[in-house]
Amino acid sequence: MTSWIVLFISVLLVMMALAAVFSRSLASAIIILSTLSLFAALLFVLVAAPDVAITEAAIGSALTTVVFVLALYRTKDAPMADDRAPKNASEESSEALRRIPEAPHA
């Protein structure tokens, strides 16, 4: 039984990692990363490591996300790193986080 739950969560983790790497929007990549940490904490509970699970849940899903969002907010006007982006991508200045120019993965 535990083996099936572990298998399910492992597949979920790999899929979320792929989604975080290949997602078009950077903001959603960050949120997927925090969800990834939360499910990894669940996995740590299943392999009898509750100390690690507490730390991973607190750090991965709370503090890391906050710091990533801060970094994203501070660099929101940067021309995104992409081959196919328009040359003057920096002119698309965005005010809010949701209006970050979405960069297709390179």
Binding site: D51, A53, I54, T55, A58, I59, L63, V66, Y73, R74
Partner: protein
């Protein structure tokens, strides 16, 4: 081209991991553990008196290493404090303070915060009895303080107090470790205090005290780490030299000149 080279490198790494894989299964014998873990499990009660063996490993068997890890954390906090003194605008001036999240969020955060701190303190204090200890508890306390900032409260982080706490906790760690020299076979971080009744709160000798020091240090370090980033200076000038905590006058002026050249793009 770049993608192809990346795929080739990753393919080589996958091949390496696949070659490594059979070796991983050799060490786990059918009876259970490799020798070091089994020895520690057998001797943990007598040597450390801590019911949580992970805590015993972190504080006693690998105590010196934990001191090193905390130092690494301090080094990264130092680096962040120095680097953040040259950032441009005040995030919480523009990001959160403009709309303060509303009544429910603000009072919810204010209501929730002491309970999260309480849970963190509980986790630190009971680190030798139940899952937890200094590292998870310290992280939890840092999270609680940060929830208060996120809800838009105008919190001024007591940076001076945080750095004093951090230094005092580090000194406390070393001082409690130096108690080990009182032992017959004098060694740093030896567990000299009376071990008490196994599986009660006042047991395991020096371990709960050292782990509490680690908890205070981790909590203050992580809090100042994130707070330095959020309370970043406006227009390249440190809002408050004390806010950065570690920035000297020379660093502040250097960061001003660095921010002055901020828009020099490095196009090749």
């Amino acid at each position: 081209m770049r993608k192809l080279a990346g795929l080739l490198l990753v393919g080589g790494f996958v091949f390496y991991l696949a070659a490594l894989l059979p070796g991983l299964f050799v060490s786990s014998t059918p009876s259970g553990l490799a020798s070091a873990g089994a020895d520690i499990l057998a001797s943990a009660e007598a040597v450390s008196g801590s019911a949580n063996v992970v805590t015993a490993v972190v504080v006693q068997y690998r105590g010196l290493d934990t001191l090193g890890e905390v130092t690494v954390l301090f080094a990264s906090a130092l680096g962040v404090a120095i680097l953040a003194s040259g950032l441009r605008d005040n995030v919480f001036g523009s990001m959160f303070a403009k709309d303060d999240g509303g009544f429910v969020l603000q009072y919810g955060g204010r209501f929730l915060m002491p309970f999260i701190v309480l849970a963190g303190v509980y986790i630190i204090v009971h680190g030798h009895l139940s899952p937890g200890g200094g590292f998870p508890g310290g992280v939890l306390i840092a999270t609680a303080l940060f929830i208060l900032i996120l809800t838009g409260e105008a919190v001024r982080m007591p940076h001076r107090l945080l750095s004093v706490l951090e230094g005092a906790a580090g000194l406390g760690f070393i001082g409690l470790g130096a108690l080990g020299f009182l032992d017959a076979d004098a060694s740093f971080l030896a567990n000299t205090l009376p071990k008490g009744q196994f599986m009660t709160l006042l047991s395991a000798g020096v371990i709960p005290f050292i782990y509490a020091m680690v908890g205070i240090k981790v909590a203050s370090e992580l809090t100042s780490l994130v707070a330095v980033l959020t309370e970043a200076p406006r227009n390249g000038q440190p809002a408050d030299p004390a806010a950065v905590g570690l920035a000297t006058a020379g660093l502040a002026s250097a960061s001003q000149t660095a921010a002055g050249q901020s828009k020099e793009a490095g196009h090749s």
